[in-house]
Symmetry: C2
Subunit: 352 residues, 2 copies
Amino acid sequence: MAGGVGSRFWPMSRQSMPKQFLDILGTGKSFIRHTYERFAKIIPDKNFLVVTNIKYKKLVLEHIPEIKPEQVLAEPVGRNTAPCIAYAAWKLKKTNPNASMVVTPADHLILNEDEFRNVIKECIEFAGKEDIMMTIGIKPNRPDTGYGYIQIDNKTPQPNEHIYKVKTFTEKPNSEMAQIFVDSGEFFWNSGIFIWKVSTIMKAMEQFLPEMHHQFRSIEQFYNTDEEQSHIEQIYPECRNISIDFGIMEKATNVYVRCSDFGWSDIGTWNSLYQYSQKDDSGNVINKNCITYNTERCIIKNENDSLTVIEGLKDYIVINSGGVLMICPKDKEQDVKKFVDDVKFKTGDKYI
Amino acid sequence: MAGGVGSRFWPMSRQSMPKQFLDILGTGKSFIRHTYERFAKIIPDKNFLVVTNIKYKKLVLEHIPEIKPEQVLAEPVGRNTAPCIAYAAWKLKKTNPNASMVVTPADHLILNEDEFRNVIKECIEFAGKEDIMMTIGIKPNRPDTGYGYIQIDNKTPQPNEHIYKVKTFTEKPNSEMAQIFVDSGEFFWNSGIFIWKVSTIMKAMEQFLPEMHHQFRSIEQFYNTDEEQSHIEQIYPECRNISIDFGIMEKATNVYVRCSDFGWSDIGTWNSLYQYSQKDDSGNVINKNCITYNTERCIIKNENDSLTVIEGLKDYIVINSGGVLMICPKDKEQDVKKFVDDVKFKTGDKYI
């Protein structure tokens, strides 16, 4: 899933170049490239499907030249994760109705990739044998209020020591509730990574999102043909804009979670970017051509060819990218959405 | 005099585009253009001479298309104001040995231009009749430590109520001394504007800077000929690097000051720029395409085509110009020189 516009990292991420195509941690590779390489060790190139907005299709193929254009599914409009997953599932069903399917965001950070692959392989094996939907839950190391949580059902017998039946999916909690969640030991972060058989998710779609299921079934004969795109462009805008979590996972009763601890972050905020980035001696995350004086705990990003000189800033985000300079205290990062709205209102799409 | 490199306003002013060619107050015209227009009302175009570095000759002619290339005197290297004034004086002497001469920096701000011109005319008249050197002193309205001061001699009879004989020239005082200067009523800011007959400054040069006088006299036959430039390029690098104030004014005894109050600033610091610029309701000096939140008393400059969004900054200078972003507290503006040195050391001349 690589269709997001990543406005939280504006002005570093832009509609023309959202987060999944950026290397905001300075690793040398984009998020989508890391995601591909992470899976390529256990999944053959021909089995990848990337769902993205039609305007990013070319970018996807530039970042993953190993896959063919027909493996990049082009959404005419964004409709959240449920239609995205339905679309991929229908194409897979036509290719191989017995297929298993791993669903993953393209813009997350995984630190221990070997452990991650072991978890994925285990989930594929387990979900391949049963008519169940697997999610990956991350052992929380802090009461993060930016994530949804998955509560395990520890009364139902476990298939193995790491897999539990899911009791509930919860929305992002407030900080008091998040602390209770973490202290209880029953709650795990919802990573947004899912594993299931195509036949299982199809059944769940039919049950919980029957209208959407009907829409995708109505063009069944065109998947994997030259006419697929034009039919997708007809039905997609009509699809309900809904997440897979809200549309299916929260309602289904055959959901299991593989509790894991491989070092994960959705890098969804400047503060998580800060947390996972390399820092200089003053705790600044900077790239080359940044000269700082009396400056601490800042995130400073400029373009390759430009120079930044900063004196006397503490705990700020300073982004100078693509003709836009943004300066904002780290503890006001939630205001970036407001900035984007205001900029749109005042200057149109030029700087978005 | 338009040869300065204006590094105090880096990164807005650059070696390739120093302060005199910029419109840092947002008036719609560069300093040098304002200076030309200010004098053009009382001095014919053909009487202007602009002394600048050879690399700025083209820029001068772009900003003042009314003058001819031969009116722009090209210094091969900067040698402070004494050689600059000597060069112009020698050329003038050859054209008209009876000429009077007004010397002015090209990058100062004058608010009341009518009053200014009246002062200049009065000085030209007075200096034209006597063998004396006139300076313009500005009535101080605050104990500024960034200016040199001129002390009047109020025992010698005055030629008129505004003109005094000069007792001393002083260097920039500390703030305690500056307060004493202002309270005394005897001290005026040294504007760096001078009026004298060519014959008078020649005599002073011969007396106080005899070696330099000899250097410029040695090529007397070549002024205003095709060979002038090549001879200037030979003698100029050998000239002593010295200001007219230190070389002559402080030593001469025939110096008078016209005390004035026409609204003057050398706009030599970011804080003086701030003082003389238009501000928004939060006291910010900003240009277009700047959006601020909770931001007060800042100087924010970006390029025409770029956007700046700032939250939560108070009393900072934020300049984003020509591939360089500088952020610095207003009360640390003196550190800009250090920044320039460090940038030069680390990256060479690219960003200077």
